[in-house]
């Protein structure tokens, strides 16, 4: 029924009739259109927001406006500090816990592990009210630590690393022990290097999650000094502030640019990471 398949009989790909190609492309254009539209709006004067003209003058004014009307440099710094801190914290805490679950005889280990998995469902943002109270008792309100700390002991990280550590043969561990390594050295020299792909995958997922996180950072911060980009953007572009739309779209692009560029450059790694972290 399909002549094109005869050219490549063992191909995994199934050839698609023309109608479906059109549908696939149409859907793709609809899907990317909002982003392209934001680009258009950000690089043109605001009067061209809805009057599409191919040769409308290009401008960077919207970006300079956004940059001068809100402290985006500070927001960038805060987001960078937040994401770096969270990922480092998660790597350390989750590695230790995963190592314990994978290799140590802890009484009631399975029950404890199920308890950890609960956090896959009960996220810090679902408990905003009580977490806010706890954060304020610990003096963490309006600090970057306060935004990040509730996420450091991540069930997903513990789960993924434990799965990886369990696949590492004990012989390697024994060899290291004969060399005179203690437990922490074994962890650092045998387990961590062999789990690099898991760290990469989990790291990318975690970076994009915390770059984009909003409601908990919104609740726990109340000034420019600690607000990350998402909260800054939310405050800046709230409809009631009456900021010019072209400026809002420039600000939106400013806050998504680093992650978007990283994604476009390392698409495969991002997609693979989401897959790896998702199969749980």
């Amino acid at each position: 029924m399909n002549t094109s398949t005869t050219y490549a009989p063992r191909s995994r790909c199934v050839s698609i009739p023309a109608l479906e190609t059109v549908a696939a492309w149409l859907l793709a254009i609809i899907w990317i259109f909002p982003l392209l539209y934001a680009f258009w709006a950000a690089f043109h004067p605001s009067e061209f927001m809805v009057n599409f003209e191919l040769f409308a003058p290009l401008t960077l004014e919207n970006f300079t406006n956004a940059w001068s009307q809100a402290p985006f440099a500070r927001y960038y710094l805060n987001t960078f500090a937040l994401v770096t801190g969270v990922v480092i914290g998660q790597f350390v805490v989750c590695t230790l816990a995963a190592f314990a679950f994978a290799r140590f005889p802890i009484p009631g280990k399975n029950v404890l592990f199920m308890l950890v998995l609960i956090q896959l469902f009960v996220f810090p943002e679902v408990l905003i009210v009580e977490n806010y109270r706890i954060a304020s008792e610990l003096g963490l309100i309006n600090t970057i630590t306060g935004i990040g700390l509730p996420y450091v002991a991540s069930a997903l990280g513990i789960f993924l690393l434990r799965q990886t550590f369990k696949t590492i043969p004990r012989e390697l561990e024994d060899a290291a022990r004969i060399e005179g390594c203690n437990w922490l050295e074994i962890l650092w020299k045998v387990y961590v290097p062999l789990a690099k792909p898991t760290y990469l995958a989990y790291g990318l997922v975690s970076i994009s999650h915390h770059w984009n996180n909003f409601i908990w950072p919104l609740v726990v911060t109340n000034s420019v000094e600690s607000r990350p980009l998402t909260v800054g953007l939310g405050v800046f572009s709230a409809p009631e502030t009456g900021v010019n739309w072209a400026t809002v779209s420039a600000a939106t692009l400013l806050s998504i640019a680093p992650l978007l560029v990283a994604f476009l450059l390392f698409q495969r790694q991002f997609v693979q990471s989401f897959l790896r972290a998702g199969i749980r």
Partner: protein
């Protein structure tokens, strides 16, 4: 291994678990327990001690029509987003898995919304939905129709929010279907071709059943997201007009941080926790029936 050595290992393991245990207790277990406790008490006036009221707060909550409206919204939101985004995700994956011109671009186009923060996505969609200068109404105007108040009309607003969420989520679910499709043995298709099976019945009889675990996995994730992600409401509607787009978690936020009613906030949080418990049970019984965490 000697007895004392075993003891030492246990101690060492416990020490390794300690940081995670302290953090999880502080930010997950303790707040869960205090939330449940708070939902059973009423705060005393002017420094008076709190008073145990049993299930009275729940009674008050269930007598509140706004709560039911919000719960109903959340249900409509879930029913509106989940099947649509799963169906679209599956369609996208089938498109991108086939031999398609410009496959890389198409796949990127589908997946890109996933990378954006919900806040940014909402900002972009504001340009479409805004009453006077929004793109949708401009287009309708060009075609001679009168504009729709996409976010201001209570009968349309929730649908507008749903459409945006579907756009944001479908590409994420696509990658899981794509991975599953790529791991399907090509012999199945070859055998079906030999038998002269139509593509339609091949999909419904072979592909779709084989994708069932993926569908369940995606479904669980979508269910969690439908009670967890409310970021877009902060930009698009703030739960309005007249609570027409309010969702449970946003209602918690409003109660706690706008109305300063921590008791009601705690009571609604318990409702959300119950929903999540149902989803978790679903996952651990249906999805993991064959997966064992050894």
């Amino acid at each position: 291994m000697s007895f004392t050595n075993h003891r030492k290992m246990q101690l060492y393991g416990a020490l390794l678990l300690l940081p995670a245990a302290v953090l999880l207790t502080t930010f997950a277990y303790l707040p869960t327990v205090t939330t449940v406790i708070n939902s059973l008490f009423l705060p005393g006036f002017r420094g008076a001690p709190t008073e145990f009221v049993g299930l009275e707060n729940y009674q008050v909550l269930f007598d509140d029509p706004t709560f039911w409206k919000v719960a109903r919204n959340n249900l409509i939101y879930a029913v509106g987003t989940i099947p649509t985004s799963i169906a679209l995700a599956l369609g996208m994956a089938l498109f991108v898995n086939g031999k398609l011109r410009g496959r890389c671009f198409v796949r990127m186009a589908y997946f890109t919304p996933t990378i954006l923060p919900m806040i940014a996505a909402a900002n972009i969609w504001m340009f479409f939905y805004a009453p006077q200068i929004g793109l949708f109404n401009k287009l309708l105007g060009m075609l001679g129709f009168s504009g729709v108040n996409w976010l201001g009309d209570p009968s349309v607003a929730l649908s507008s929010v749903i459409v945006m969420s579907v756009w944001k989520e479908a590409g994420f679910f696509m990658i899981f279907y794509l991975a599953a499709l790529q791991s399907m043995p090509p012999e199945l298709k070859e055998a079906a071709d030999l038998e002269g099976t139509s593509r339609w019945s091949f999909f419904w009889r072979v592909t779709f059943p084989l994708l069932m675990p993926t569908t369940l996995f995606v479904l669980i994730n979508a269910l969690i997201n439908s009670v967890r992600v409310v970021d877009h409401l902060f930009i698009l509607t703030k739960g309005g007009p007249n609570n027409a787009t309010n969702l449970l978690l946003y209602y918690v936020y409003e109660n706690a941080f706008s109305f300063f009613d921590r008791t009601t906030a705690a009571t609604i949080t318990v409702v959300i926790l119950l929903v999540l418990a149902v989803v978790a049970t679903l996952k651990f019984t249906i999805l993991d029936r064959r997966t064992h965490y050894q």
